[in-house]
């Protein structure tokens, strides 16, 4: 089998401006949604109590809300989760409340309702101080990733590659976050992990293309920079699609079989993989071109030697 029967290099760089405008628009949209709607942070970040209870028969949610309201939890969110028999209850942290006891009080008031009995499946309680730390740790992790990758790429390639790779892939991260803001999907710790993993993964994508760019510059003389980029992208495109397709198969499997916990995790990965292909091929490469990459940058070592002789 061979899916990619490409005779000539595809002139990607001709349309570089179009691609960059498209990604600028998606990027701005993502920023817009992030700014206006904000992320729907999970309990881990906001602090509060999250409870998952399951019933033998579907319970009437109104009844549960009433019972919790009587206990003083008017601000409780009660909703179905997965199936009509599973119920998710969210309670915000309140100052002065003995937070650690909340889940017990809730279970007691649920038990007081007649009808099917509730079985406690999962409780997650996070105090207010933990959430803040998580947010700052997440930001630190992001900074470390960015710093580390820029440094490594600058060392292995050239600063222009490092900068454009990181810009292209941060744009992926923002777009993932934009999706989560737009649809108000829950942003939890695993999603954060997925987002950062995507960052590493799509940089990896840019690296493959850049590697080819470097090789082409060294091997083939007489090609203009856009031609070199076109050649590099064209000759790696089959690998790009197949690799991403394979990874996506795995992620799809998680999306289908992984259940609620892995759902948003794999969703973030799916968005990341789709935009990862786009950005590393069609955003990072034009950026490298705008930044003025040229053959000479890879021949520098020789040049310096010559100068030394003169």
């Amino acid at each position: 089998m061979e899916f990619f029967k490409i005779r000539k290099d595809i002139p990607f760089m001709k349309h570089a401006l179009v691609f960059n405008v498209i990604s600028l628009i998606t990027f701005l949209l993502a920023v817009f949604f992030l700014a206006t709607k904000g992320l729907h942070f999970s309990v881990e970040f906001t602090g509060g109590t999250l409870m998952e209870v399951s019933y033998a028969e579907p319970p009437a949610l109104e009844k549960l809300r009433d019972a919790l309201g009587k206990e003083g939890y008017q601000d409780a969110q009660v909703q179905n989760f997965g199936s009509s028999r599973d119920v998710l209850i969210r309670l915000p942290n309140r100052s002065g409340d003995e937070t650690a006891k909340v889940s017990e009080k809730v279970m007691a008031s649920l038990a007081a309702i007649d009808g099917p009995k509730a079985e406690l499946r999962r409780v997650e309680f996070v105090g207010p101080q933990v959430g803040k730390e998580l947010a700052s740790d997440g930001a630190m992790a992001l900074l470390l990733v960015i710093g580390g990758i820029v440094l490594y790429l600058a060392m292995r390639f050239e600063w222009r590659f490092a900068v454009s790779a990181i810009i292209a892939n941060l744009h992926d991260v923002i777009i993932i976050l934009g999706f989560f803001a737009l649809f108000q999907w829950e942003f939890s710790l695993p999603v954060l992990a997925a987002t950062l993993a995507v960052l590493g993964y799509s940089v990896n994508e840019s690296v493959v293309v850049f590697d080819r760019v470097r090789e082409t510059f060294k091997k083939k003389r007489g090609l203009t920079t856009p031609q070199v980029l076109d050649h590099a992208i064209t000759s790696t495109i089959s690998r790009t699609i197949i690799t991403h397709g394979s990874t996506q198969m795995m992620v799809l499997s998680m999306l289908l079989f992984g259940g609620e916990t892995l759902y948003y995790f794999s969703l973030a990965l799916t968005i990341g993989i789709c935009f990862g292909i786009y950005s590393s091929v069609l955003v990072a490469s034009p950026l490298v071109m705008w930044l003025g990459v040229s053959r000479e940058q890879f021949m520098q070592v020789k040049k310096e030697k010559q100068e030394a002789v003169v």
Binding site: M1, E2, K5, I6, R7, T99, A100, S103, E104, E119, L120, R121, R122, V123, E124, F125, V126, G127, Q129, V130, L134, A141, L144, V145, G148, I149, Y152, S188, P190, A193, L196, A197, L199, G200, Y201, V203, N204, V207, V208, D211, E215, T236, S238, R239, I242, T243, G245, S246, T247, Q248, M250, L252, S253, M254, F257, G258, G259, T261, L262, F265
Partner: protein, 619 residues
Amino acid sequence: MNRYPLWKNLLIGIVLLWGLIYTLPNFYGEVPAVQVSSGKATLKLDATATMARVEESLKAAGIAHDGLFADLTSVRARFRDTDTQLKAKDAIEKTFNPDAADPSYVVALNLLSASPQWLTSIHALPMYLGLDLRGGVHFLLQVDMKGAVTKRLDATAGDLRTLLRDKNVRHAGIGREGAAVVIKFRDTETQARARSVISAANNDLQLVEGQDGADYKLTASLTPLAQKTIQEFAIRQNISTLHNRINELGVAEPVIQQQGLDRIVVQLPGVQDVAKAKDILGRTATLEIRLVDDTPGGLEAALQGNVPPGTELYTERGGNPLLVKKQVVLTGERLTDAQPGFDGQTHEAAVHLTLDSAGARIFKDITRENINKRMAILLIEKGKGEVVTAPVIRAEIGGGRVQISGRMTSEEATDTALLLRAGSLAAPMEIIEERTIGPSLGAENISKGFHSTLWGFVAIAIFMCAYYMLFGLVSVLALASNLLLLVALLSLLQATLTLPGIAAIALTLGMAIDANVLINERIREELRNGSTPQAAIHAGYDRAFDTILDSNVTTLIAGIALLVFGSGPVRGFAVVHCLGILTSMFSAILVSRGLVNMIYGKKRKLEKLAIGQVWKPGI
């Protein structure tokens, strides 16, 4: 040219064999077991004697076991099914803890790996499952370090009072003000003398002189070093206290660990009674013994809102108000043991306390000086104190053995003793994070994680074989060996496997195939450019190596960042992710090359490679 030297083939073989051995225990599953371990800090478990006792008690009850095992801290017995396990637990419990109110041993239900003995003896154990996979409770506790320091200062104020009295230095009042102890004097001479006396006796204090109206004062605060020591001590003491308290719960493998400077993680696998667990953990009580102020008129004045200086108003458990001196005679740190029991003469329920030598000395002095006065034992819970009991001191009590009796039911005595025995906490704690996972959810999570990985793998395998033919098969075998090595590594390191961890396994596999795709595409490209098959293989692997290295390093950077800054689920993900990247480098490059070499390496005249269709433009 496509042949590996013997040592390289051997290396690959050995690594894979190692992976297989360490992965094996995961396939055997688990069998029900009963675990006996020491329930008291003072009791050391003697493995051989305990094993003999377990054997005996099982024989007496007519229960057959499937093997006894001992390690440093526990003895475990395996059983055929859960019914036998429950019966055995009752039998063993009866033998080891004849007095149910005062268990000396923890007899807990557990699951043991069913893998054969020889695997266990080379430390090939199944992966350690996290709470989200096996069910249980996770708590994160915050230790109130300010509380620990304040408490120390209160005790220091008392010590200084005694010191100055012993040395005949007259002061005009000692008290704690914020984070320092302030001592007042009438003249500078005494102030200077006190300074030298204090600095000679106590080098944990920083002394600053000052003046307050007509009084001269000395402000004593703790040195940074002393504060650090107190904080370290506080967290250690709290951890050991938690150990004792959790032993009462009978959990087979509790995890109690320090996290950061002032936090403690408690994980109780398999515990379903969260309320009880929290109740026992959440008793953030500290214990203090103080004297009752029985000065006539004092209590009346206090009840009218005019509390005499140096005292505090508390309510006794019965509801009677009680005026208690602020000075702390003893704290829970001095208490080594507490047992419920009965008074030898009156047969009333009683609590027997044992104090350490310093505590015993202080107690002797105090009781001698205060015969027929009352002493209050206070339980300070979240800043609120309650007088547990306020017995009258009948006689001087030496030797550190104290009995509290009167107005107590035996249940109350057991409760009080439990609180006292568990050791009081050096500093109050608060639960700041809780996660409870029911057992059914845990099992579901395992199957979900397993199925995600399985079907994802199958899909990739089918595609790879269809697209790259024999080279696809080689890639799939390399991917399988990656999975094998990853699981072996996780089993060996006993890293906690969580659901995000399983997700990381799946994702790592999905990403690891990249290396093989790179290689295969390169080989096809070389063939397209007219290379001979052997040269194409060689060049394909060679050229792809740089790219694979670069892309894996960048992915690894992201993984390490997650590992450093992640906590909880993110950490579980990051550990597996990072390990997976390392194993994938090995398997994608060495294992797949080794296989290809074995298949094609010896063929001199190779016409064609089974790598699927190599399409050439223009044909």
